[in-house]
Structure formats: C-alpha cells, structure tokens
Amino acid sequence: MCPATLEIKNLGLSPYEESLQIQKELVASRRSGGVPDQLLLQEHPHVITMGKSAPEEHIIMTKEQLDDHGIRVFHVGRGGDVTYHGPGQLVGYPILDLKPDRKDLHRYLRDLEEVLIRSLSALSVRARRRDNLTGVWIEDRKIAAIGVRVSSQWITSHGFSLNVRNDLSYFETIVPCGIKNVEVTSISNELGEWVEVDMVSEIVIEEFSKIFELKVDKRLTDNAF
C-alpha cells in the first residue's frame, strides 16, 4: 500500500495567533478529509503560552516586565503547563488524523519524542526521554517541549518546540512545563556552534515522515532558488 501523504507548510516567522488560526482551519479541513496530514513548521516571535493546567504563578515576570520584553501571553487549548516560544526555536504543529491505527495518545507523544530524538541524533546530539516527564532531554537539560491537542475524530493539533539557537535567557521568565529548577538547552548550546533552524527543520521533516510512515509532499518548503 502507498504511504499516505504528509504536506509540509513552512510558515517562517509566524505570529502565534496566526499559526493558531491556521491550525484551526486545518483541523477542520483534515477532519472533513479536504487535506492530507499536515506538518506546520515555524518560528514564533517571543510568546509565552499557557496550557489548561498552567497556574498563573508559573510566569515569573510581572505584566509590565513582559511588556518591556515584548513577550505576549496566550492561554491555549493544548495539554501541558506553560512554555515559551521565540525566534531560533523550531515549532512544529502536526495536524494528523490518528484514525484508524494510531488512536493512542501516549503512543502519539512517544512518537513525537522519537522524531526529535532521531533528528538530534542526526546532528550528533544525544537526546533521551525521562520517565513521566514528556519532552526531550539532553541528560537533565530540556531541549524540546511537547503539548498537544486531539480534537474530535482524532485530529491532532499543537505539537512540539525544539530549541535550535534561541536565546535561552527568555526561559527565565517562566517555570518551563511547571517543573522547577529545570535547565534548558538548545542545539547550538550543545554543539557550541551556530545552527540554522532551516537545516534542523529539513531533518525533522525527514524523521517525522519515517516515524509516521508518511510520504512528504514538499510544496515549496525551502527558499533555495
């Protein structure tokens, strides 16, 4: 049987609310079968997003401090606690139909972790899972966060954020994923060299298509002329 199609949408630097709107549209289209499985890739301007279970005190800064730093805050319908997104971080939102054979939320989370672990491995960064702490870790340093939503009919949205070369000091504004004293890291930080987000997204696309057994329909995803 031919593998199903995965369509890649590379949104570049995309305002959080726009990506949210696009996800909303795509979830509806995916549910009605109007589009194949999707992987939205982007970077966001500085934002803090709060999952449903996130208490306000997990944002450490005051509203004024956040404004000074140009950080916006969104409350969103995904699982998980608070997280930060900003330029230099690769954010991926898979809009997948998990029916009929992937209807397992834990398996979906582990699959997303596997995509990131293998991508990091391709970049010579050795990453791992930690028990009961969803996400991807380098030893005890967090490099990727995961928080997803499954809408009716098993359509996924939200997803993962992988620190590539972002300014990690912004994580000091929050208690990442509600875990206190957690150290965050990035690919550039681990390798000690500048790494392009575009290059990482190429690798993630490849690993993603392997893990989810999808064939990539790469519509104009690179900016090479």
């Binding site: 949408k9 570049g12 630097l13 995309s14 305002p15 609310e17 726009e18 709107q21 696009i22 549209e25 301007p45 709060m50 999952g51 449903k52 279970s53 409350h75 319908g77 995904r78 699982g79 998980g80 209807k103 397992d104 939320l105 834990h106 398996r107 979906y108 989370l109 009961n132 969803t134 995961i146 928080g147 997803v148 939503r149 499954v150 809408s151 009716s152 009919q153 392009e196 575009d198 290059m199 190429e202 519509r219 104009l220 690179d222 900016n223 090479a224 002329f225």
Partner: protein
C-alpha cells in the same frame, strides 16, 4: 426515555485515567452524534470527546477538574425525543451561541428531567457570570470599549475564560466598520445581532485565509497544445522549484529596479596587481568577489535591504549571508556565503571559487544553498549590459552586474580645466528591491555608496 451512558474513553493502551478539563455542552443541550461534548486532559494532551450518540445531554456526572478512571460514566444522553422540550425552551430563552452558553461556570450537576424553571435559572446565572468575567477586561480594552461606545459583553472573547482581549475588541471594531449593518447597537444590547456578527466574521475570515494560502503557496502552470514534431519532456526537480519560485516571487513582491553606472578602473588595477603577485592560490579575484565584498560592508548599514517582509513584520537579518548565482548550464544554483561581512576580500574570493566549483560538480551540501539574506548575480560575464532580476523568496533585494567593458567616458581634466573623453571599464549595476520595505531613495543611496567604494578601491576601508 432511553438513557445512553458516555464513559471516560480509553485513549491509549497505557492510559488508565483522565481529567475532565471542560464541559463544552450543558445539561439540556441537544447534541449530534460525534459532536464534542467535553474536553479531557491527560499527561500533555488535551482531547475533545465526542458524543457517541445523538440526543439531549440530561446529566453530567463528573465535574470539571476531577480525575476518573477509564470507563467511569461521565454523562447521560437521552437518545429519544422526550427531552426536546427542555432544549427548545432553552433556545428560545437565550439566543447566544452554544459556545458562549457553555462557559463561565464550574462543575454543574445533573438537573431534573424536565425541570424547565431550573434550566432557565441556571442559564441566567451563567450569563451573568460570563458577563462578569468579560467585564473584567484589561484597562486598555475598557478604554477602547468606552471610546467606541461598545459594551464589552457583546464582543466575542478569545482570552482566558473568554475574556475580551485587545485584539478581540480591535477586530470587532474593524469588522463593524467593514460591515456597518452588522454592528450591534450597543444601546439595545441585542445578543441576536451579536451572534450574526460572530458567524459572519468567521465565514469571511475563512474565505480570506483560503485565498491567501493558495496565493502565497500554490502555483499552477497553464498547459498549452502540443504541435506535430514538438518534443515534450517533464521538468526536472530543480527546474520545477525554480519555475514555482519565480512565479511566487513575482506574484507577491512588488519589484522595483534602480541602476547605476560604476567605473571599475580602480578595481581592475587592483586585480592586475594581485594577479602579478600571484597570491590567492594563483587565482585572480573576480569582479563578482569585489562587488560581494563591497556589498557585505554596506548591508550591515542598510538594514531593510538585508531583510525580509514577513506577515506584518519586517525582519532585519542579523547575519549577512550573500547568495551568489552560479550558472550550471543548464540550470542555476545559488550557494550562500555565510557571514560575508566578517570575511576579507581574499576570503570571499576563495569562498566563491570553492562554492562555484562544488556547485558545478554537484557537491554542495543542503545548508550551503540555504539561508541567504541578499543575492548577487553576474550574467554580465556573458555580455549582457543590464539585468532586471527577480528577488529570491525570503529576501528583499538582489544585485545584478552588467558586462564590465571598455566604454567612452567623459571626465573632467582639472589641470587643463577641460572635459575629455577617455576609455574606462564600466558596468551598469542594477538593484532589484522589494518596494514594500525598501524605498527608492534608500536603494539609490545604497547604489551610490557601492559606486563610491568600488571607484575608490582600495580606499580607506
């Protein structure tokens, strides 16, 4: 009356329990099969749970915030018509959208089967709760509302607990301006009209996004009839990408080109000096390398030229990564010299030779053709005088060199105080720029600075 149990579903092999995070429908509500009625959350996942049957939601057994095991009954749905009465009374007692009705209360318990009075009371209480939360909007939103004489409770909120954010209220005002007939008169405070506005917005927003999505991402090349004896062959991947990118770049970016004539005599002299010294691995430094070097020095100053327009933002690139078009004959590829502003002329020259060589032998790495912030192309080596190139996607400008050839030039002879016609090597250099973010005067200043640097070479840089 036939009651159907809605259990906490098994959402994965290793999942044993789930937390009810939000009821999306309330007791008395008529629901369709597969319509989401609640949200549950487990580790890092929020999931919508659809109703397995059509009917009326008659009892909610698990409050929001409670965690229960798989299989626990969450709610009862009456699959027969008896409870329709409740539903119809509710609808006439409240005209707001179902989404709005469902929020602003916590942990509602079950109701008597046909206790209509209780239903209405609850609903009213819930409304006032919603309004109270909405009214707790930020001072900015309240100020905007006051200025525009809007009641905040009429504005659909997307913030925490449906609170109205600044974006919400600004969108509301904008939409009201576009569809003046739809703006509810806040004095009569009619929720009915509000609902119409709400759904009206949604439709137009969807339509626009579809159009822009295809406008920015999809290219369809029209077909033409094939004549007898014509050869037809499919484009290879490189040609396909090039073809699509060219159409998109022209479709999206308003191109403008400015041209300046540059005297390359000083540069030409320097090239001769270098080749006589035999350094740079005994290769000459190309004119392209000189121009690349000069541009790299200017691009840190001309921020909008080393930039890209992205949505509603302008991104000034922190790095100066110059793409150099390499003719593959057939085909063309643009390898990128990263951080050109930190390289010397000799380093740039070596880098160009290396990348161009490997481009022709097909040995470039993917990252070596990505991430350019500005591009230079030199079809002038083939003799063309003037170019009007297309700006590569993701950047705001491209520079093209015309043929550098001997031309008669009028110069002032200061000693004799006369004009003279002399022979000079000159070229017409053209800058194609994205007129949304680069103004004509900026482009002109950039070109003039470039001319000065090249004509005064090596100058004091």
């Amino acid at each position: 009356m036939s009651l159907f149990k809605v259990p906490m579903p098994q959402m994965g092999e290793s999942i044993t329990e789930g937390t009810v995070s939000k009821w999306l429908r309330t007791v008395g509500h008529r629901i369709n099969k597969d319509e989401p009625i609640l949200e549950i959350s487990t580790d890092k996942v929020d999931a919508e749970i659809p109703s397995p049957v059509a009917g009326v939601l008659v009892e909610i057994c698990v409050e929001e915030g409670r965690t229960v095991e798989i299989g626990t009954v969450l709610a009862y749905v009456d699959t027969e018509g008896e409870a329709e009465e409740i539903s119809s009374i509710e609808e006439s007692s409240n005209q707001q959208s179902p989404q709005k009705m469902s929020t602003g209360f916590m942990g509602q318990k079950s109701l008597g089967e046909s206790d209509q009075t209780a239903v209405i009371e609850k609903r009213n209480r819930r409304n006032s709760e919603t309004e109270r939360l909405k009214a707790k909007s930020s001072p900015v939103v309240q100020k905007i509302a006051k200025e525009h004489e809007i009641s905040i409770s009429n504005v659909p909120g997307t913030g925490h607990l449906e609170r109205v954010t600044k974006t919400d209220i600004l969108r509301y005002i904008k939409d009201a301006d576009i569809h003046p007939g739809r703006r509810p008169s806040d004095r009569n405070n009619s929720p009915q009209i509000d609902t119409v506005t709400d759904s009206g917005n949604e439709t137009s927003a969807n339509g626009e996004i579809d159009i822009w999505d295809s406008f920015y991402n999809e290219v369809e090349h029209p077909s033409f009839p094939v004549g007898p004896g014509d050869d037809v062959f499919p484009m290879d991947k490189l040609r396909q990408i090039t073809a699509d990118h060219m159409v998109l770049a022209k479709r999206v970016v308003p191109h403008v080109h400015s041209v300046i004539e540059v005297d390359f005599s000083s540069v030409d002299q320097e090239r001769r000096n270098i080749s006589q010294k035999g350094n740079i691995q005994e290769r000459g430094i190309s004119f392209t390398a000189f121009v690349t070097w000069a541009c790299s020095r200017l691009l840190t100053k001309y921020k909008n030229i080393n930039a890209v327009l992205s949505g509603k933002n302008i991104i000034h690139r922190s790095r100066v990564n110059i793409g150099i078009a390499v003719d593959l004959n057939p085909g063309l590829i643009v390898p990128v010299i990263k951080d050109t502003d930190g390289l010397s002329l000799a380093e740039i020259s070596l880098k160009i030779n290396d990348l161009a060589g490997r481009a022709r032998s097909g040995d470039l790495l993917p990252e070596e053709i990505a991430g350019s912030t500005f591009a230079i192309t030199n079809p002038g080596v083939l003799g063309t005088v003037l170019g009007m190139p297309i700006i590569p996607k993701g950047t705001s400008a491209i520079l093209v060199l015309g043929a550098i050839e001997k031309r008669p030039v009028v110069v002032e002879n200061a000693e004799k105080n006369v004009d003279e016609i002399v022979v000079r090597k000159t070229s017409f250099i053209s800058l194609g720029f994205d007129h949304r973010i680069v103004d004509g005067a900026d482009a002109a200043r950039f070109l003039l600075d470039l001319k000065k640097i090249l004509e005064a070479f090596p100058g004091d840089v």
